[in-house]
Symmetry: C2
């Protein structure tokens, strides 16, 4: 929506963001020193406040819902915007879970004595100021604030303009919880304007913001990736592959490939292309494709796949005949009940296909052959590489991070699911007893 209350003005917005950046930078110094007890107290206080203020939250949220309906957003959009009782309870629960997580700040590791006698190691420290840019769902305001707080960072949050009333109110609750616990309320700031220039300003102020985490759709993510001068924990496409080797366990392959495609269609870790070794294709493809057809998955196939399926007497649904895969299919992230399938002659062909068309997000091999599993693991250059598991596991919670701020397709810094550690860095520490350099 274009919030009627806001008068977009690029100069004012830049001034607003500069002021917010300055205050975030100052608050970050204090946050970095906050103890685990102080940070956890804020999280608990905020969880209690959210439960106590459920009605007021719903009241503010109703303004956003009404505005969204008025400008003609569809029902799915309005649903994502809605803070139901369940979503509100989920926010409070999420805060308490983050409070339970180990504080990453101050962790000392790898402290080793060097020949000079000094001890050298790492200490984990906050990054400073995190900028998070997200769309529609206002509960992200609470989730993101919790992770930034726990990792000792200040943050500037820029939510979707459609959720402005909800976000402003949640920001107020967060600020009150910080102040109640004696911390600086500038540690979490929500951009109060819906002016789109705010995003442009945020991603180009490296003096105030240390890293940007975009959590939105493709167009937002790629705009940020292209225009930001602040480092970005990028999240680009997830064109995930499973390669079913000729030495795969057939039952396992059916189970895993079913799960990887059909458990949910929209996540970035859902399989988009299935590569099958020619040696197993005749046994495997008719079985798995029968499942896909039954679940309404459209199949876009290579000529060999079509030949094998047709020779097997496979019956596509009348409404969804087999489609011939085009060159474009191999590099498409469907995020939908569509799957491209290719039969390959060797594992090398599969790995070459992944290198050429993949997005380096998540790939899996299904095989019982140890040497091939290890080679695939080593040679496939993706943020997650799996053996005999569903690509759907590429997720911060499933990886044991306890939380997830996003999935990174960067190679530098965080790669793959990013938890609290991805919002921190390590500095070197040196403990001496008066050593000097010779």
């Amino acid at each position: 929506m274009n919030a009627p209350s806001s008068t977009p003005n690029t100069t004012d917005t830049l001034g607003l963001l500069t002021d917010m950046g300055l205050r975030a930078r100052r608050a970050a110094q204090a946050m970095a020193r906050a103890s685990a007890a102080e940070k956890n107290a804020v999280l608990s206080q905020l969880a209690n406040a959210i439960e106590a203020q459920g009605t007021a939250i719903a009241h503010e949220n109703a303004k956003d819902l009404e505005a969204a309906q008025k400008v003609g957003h569809d029902a799915a959009f309005v649903d994502r915007l809605r803070l139901t009782d369940k979503v509100i309870a989920g926010m409070a629960e999420g805060l308490r879970q983050v409070a339970q997580l180990k504080d990453p700040v101050g962790e000392i590791s790898m402290l080793r004595r060097q020949p000079s006698g000094i001890q050298v190691g790492h200490m984990r420290v906050p990054l400073g100021v995190i900028g998070i840019i997200y769309e529609s769902r206002p509960n992200v305001t609470i989730d993101a604030a919790a992770l930034c707080l726990k990792s000792g960072n200040a943050c500037v949050l820029r939510g979707g303009s459609e959720a402005i009333h909800s976000n402003r109110f949640l920001a107020q609750l967060i600020g009150d919880a910080l102040a109640h616990c004696g911390l600086n309320r500038d540690a979490v700031q929500v951009v109060p304007t819906t002016d789109r220039a705010a995003v442009g300003a945020m991603i180009q102020m490296p003096q105030y913001i240390d890293v940007i985490v975009p959590r939105g759709g493709k167009s937002l993510n790629s705009r940020i990736a292209n225009e930001a001068t602040v480092p970005v924990i990028k999240h680009l496409d997830g064109i995930c592959h499973i390669y079913v080797d000729d030495e795969a366990d057939l039952e396992m392959a059916v189970r895993v490939c079913d799960n990887a495609k059909t458990q949910r269609y929209s996540p970035c870790n859902t399989m988009e292309t299935l590569l099958v070794h020619q040696g197993l294709a005749q046994a495997f493809l008719p079985r798995i494709c029968a499942i896909y057809v039954q679940k309404g998955v459209e199949l876009r196939v290579c000529p060999a796949t079509r030949q094998i399926l047709e020779a097997s007497g496979f019956q596509p649904a009348a409404s969804q005949p087999l489609v011939n895969a085009t060159e474009e299919d191999w590099s498409t992230e469907y995020l939908a009940p569509i799957l491209s399938i290719r039969v390959v002659e060797t594992m090398e062909t599969a790995m070459a296909h992944i290198a050429q068309y993949g997005s380096a997000h998540t790939e899996a091999i299904l095989t019982m052959n140890h040497a091939k599993a290890m080679r695939f693991l080593r040679e496939v250059d993706s943020s997650s590489v799996m053996v005999n598991a569903s690509t759907r596991f590429a997720d911060g919670f499933e990886y044991g991070l306890g939380a997830e701020i996003g999935i990174s397709t960067n190679k530098l810094h965080a790669r793959g699911p990013v938890g609290l550690e991805g919002l921190t860095s390590q500095k070197w520490i040196v403990l001496g007893e008066g050593q000097v350099r010779g």
Copy 2:
């Protein structure tokens, strides 16, 4: 020099660099798979070749020296350019040392079983293609190539135009060693043109180059930091501080502060500002300043420092009277026999001074008080923070990295001295037995 043989032409240079980038990208895939034995064989082969070809190297180097003298570069400049027998022997020795280092690629860590039954961990992998931009010293060509090779990366090296003949010849030796060992000679490419547009092209081709490491003077580094769209392992100023606490050991303070300033004046980890607690200033300042004066260090002091020194009967050298420090002094990296000194009332004042004027490179506290040491260690936000040790230790070799490609002032990815690990990343690996997501 402006190499008379090269006709700068921006379009041609962009085409040249694009071609080099494409070839580097292809070579990187093969390098990532190379075994430790293969990589070490290249390093040994190259060390042998450098020793065998010493005369030919010196012959090519003479062309650079002659050209540098002809255009009027001073003796110090020409000296840096000179590949003496000792420097040539050092290159071979350096290659053999890098061959001895543990191969970082493929290291699996933190493999832990999750509640779903999958095992999740990290595998260390090369970054891909490293771009290194450096000035004058041609031996950097060999050092940088060795580290990129060992870490499984391809690289594009852009040395100083003054060293073009030396660098081209060394590039030939590196390519021959790669080819001799059955690896792709495109894994190490030296930009063969002296056209300055090559730097601009390199730092703006993220599709071919994954990270840029600048190794040069301030102006080169800051130009690259400002203009690069490829991520940069930045190296900005090193305005290093030592804070001498009132509970410091006096003898240790004298020894460490002498070393941190005077052992060498030009490195980035040399102390530039000395902060002294008022409680120890009268005992400490006259002693340490007598040493500085004797060694010819110019002192730029705050009013309290001047007062204490003058009251103590301290005698500055006639040629170097005490200078009153200006606001600018506190934020200046001298890289010279000049030191700014300030007396502070508390450790908090010292930490605030460092936060305001420092460059987040390396800071040290000298104290026998454990609580103060730990607080300084935690709260000072620099890439290296030390207790009771000379800032001069901030160095990859002293930290046990075995090699150093540079010192990073970034917060994301590598911070502080960067060794082989800083040229790698970690991907997630998942080992399953057919698990699917519930």
